[in-house]
Chain length 388, copies 2
Amino acid sequence: MTEKTEAPSAKDHHDQNLIARPGSRLEITTPALVLDLDALDANIAAMAAKAAAQGIGLRPHAKTHKSAAIGRRQMDSGALGLCCAKLSEAEALAAGGLDRFLLTSPVTGSRRIERLIALKQRCRDLMLVVDDAENLRRLAAAAKAQGVSLDLLIDVDVGQRRTGVASTEQALALAGIIAAEERLNFHGLQGYAGHLQHITDYGERRQASHAALGQLAAVRDALEAAGHPCPIMTGGGTGSHAFDHEAGVLNELQVGSYTVCDVEYDAVDLAGDGASPFRAGLFVYSRVISANHPGFVTIDAGSKSIATDGPAPEVVSGAPKGSRYSVSGDEFGQLDLPGEAEILKVGDLVILQVPHCDPTINLFDHYHCVRGDALVALWPIEARGASF
Amino acid sequence: MTEKTEAPSAKDHHDQNLIARPGSRLEITTPALVLDLDALDANIAAMAAKAAAQGIGLRPHAKTHKSAAIGRRQMDSGALGLCCAKLSEAEALAAGGLDRFLLTSPVTGSRRIERLIALKQRCRDLMLVVDDAENLRRLAAAAKAQGVSLDLLIDVDVGQRRTGVASTEQALALAGIIAAEERLNFHGLQGYAGHLQHITDYGERRQASHAALGQLAAVRDALEAAGHPCPIMTGGGTGSHAFDHEAGVLNELQVGSYTVCDVEYDAVDLAGDGASPFRAGLFVYSRVISANHPGFVTIDAGSKSIATDGPAPEVVSGAPKGSRYSVSGDEFGQLDLPGEAEILKVGDLVILQVPHCDPTINLFDHYHCVRGDALVALWPIEARGASF
């Protein structure tokens, strides 16, 4: 087991069982989340090269992978820092050795603000977004009381209707509060068009994304005219990475899913040429656990191993072409086999491409990391379950 | 923090943040999985009393709660042992101090069979099901090689089409193999009608369940006629617990969801009188994280905190009657408010009843345990993610 650079989890009885015999990926105990490190490396390098060519920065979103090892590779490839959706995600990755974060959703509540300030003192960079005046006043009071400066972006709703200010007036009001507080530093805007990332058609997605960025630019222009410069303009994602730079609004991208891809993103024409610039890198390995009927077998991965909010997983290998997976309860999947196929037998390995990477990764404590046919490492998913 | 009988998880930075200020459940850091211990105690007592009155045993299914503390309470109330869906689930609960298990799905593969034998040597009881001749031969060979006896049930498919033998002939063949092996002991049959548990109408569910149990009885009769007595007849669930005993086929029930209930089971007429004999005991506490639009707010619980395979969670408190939750991504939920309601503000606590308990519990590392308004303990979910 080379590359086992991460400290193992404390669940020792789990670790021993997960690793299986080191050596062959075909002997991994199932169900398991398997990460192809060659694909991961290629995807990180491809995105870094593309961003460099576009003249745009990368602040990759760790909500996808929740892993210090992957975050470190992104930093090593030139990332400005990592995005985290929740404070606990950043805390877990900081415990794993990372120290430059942007928290992309509001940090609310007195207890959480205490934790924020504690984390800030351990990090090189810790920025966060705000979209509410009362929350901002509480952040200001805590920063003052603790003698700590906070680095803020204003989150702008560019059509997703989830977080962010809903008007330019509100953005101006927040910027005014920040400017009046000595311990608060204003750095710019976040505008994340999450609702557009999975529009499959390239041209349609590009047009919708540019319209959203136009909204963001209008807010920026109003703030700058009012004396609030916006050096950081952050947003975008894997779905819009190919054309976000064209609008000249963002100067950094919050890409996440490109690291491993998934069935959902494979349906999106990411580069406008029908081919994905990224490689599928994340799989659930499963095995046949019961085979007593013609036409289907039962495998050992159900909704506790594969997030069910997306499409069905793709059968990559181990079953005849045309085999189709469906959930058969929390622990099992049904694999319907094409008419003429002979029945698989108990123990046969079936490899599935993950349908939606973020919530599927969040079901596992570890990545089983492979290169070619070799199982080379077990990486903990430090921020698994870190949603608070 | 009384009742903190479980060792804390090694993720110390998590634990510190999860506990919040001990004392009030209203200060729990969100999103959090909250277990009402009064409801849990009442549900465990009610099911134990009902089973005693029915003259049937209980072997509750731990796949629901994945917790040693809850399993211990079930054992203390007279359970015969605990069911586990996967070997790793039993391993995790054994590490938590429990030692009587039935593995309700086949244990396959040489590595897993090694682990099975290791676990068997640490347990008072460890039974498992079989449904495949080749798997059975491998179990026999391993048991012989290690000098360990294995206690087996034959799993019978009573219509769910997931695991289990598909014919009486197959059951007879397996029983013959078991009888011929010195190290294998045959104890009876499992027939789990999981596909019928959520039929909402009592009479319809009862009729379908009795038909399934009739299939199981026919297999039992054939086996006993062939000289294979079946002292253990196990199956059933929360959905069919009220009438499973009537058929005189099962002598123990694998009930699970009754411990905490969920929105999905609340739709089922469990006792035939329109009222649930069990109390809702499991909630996701969430808070408003963004409130910039009329008509809805964004809360901090999304598909990484609430399993999305069931109905929507019910809004229990913190929002006007008629408020409706929908997922707004992996980390967020949208709470649509009824027309006339005033907008909630950032930080407001919204309590949701869990829609489907098993996979939602599997998203969290801990239960926040409350009695009345007091937060009294943090229980680890030892078998979370234990699907292998």
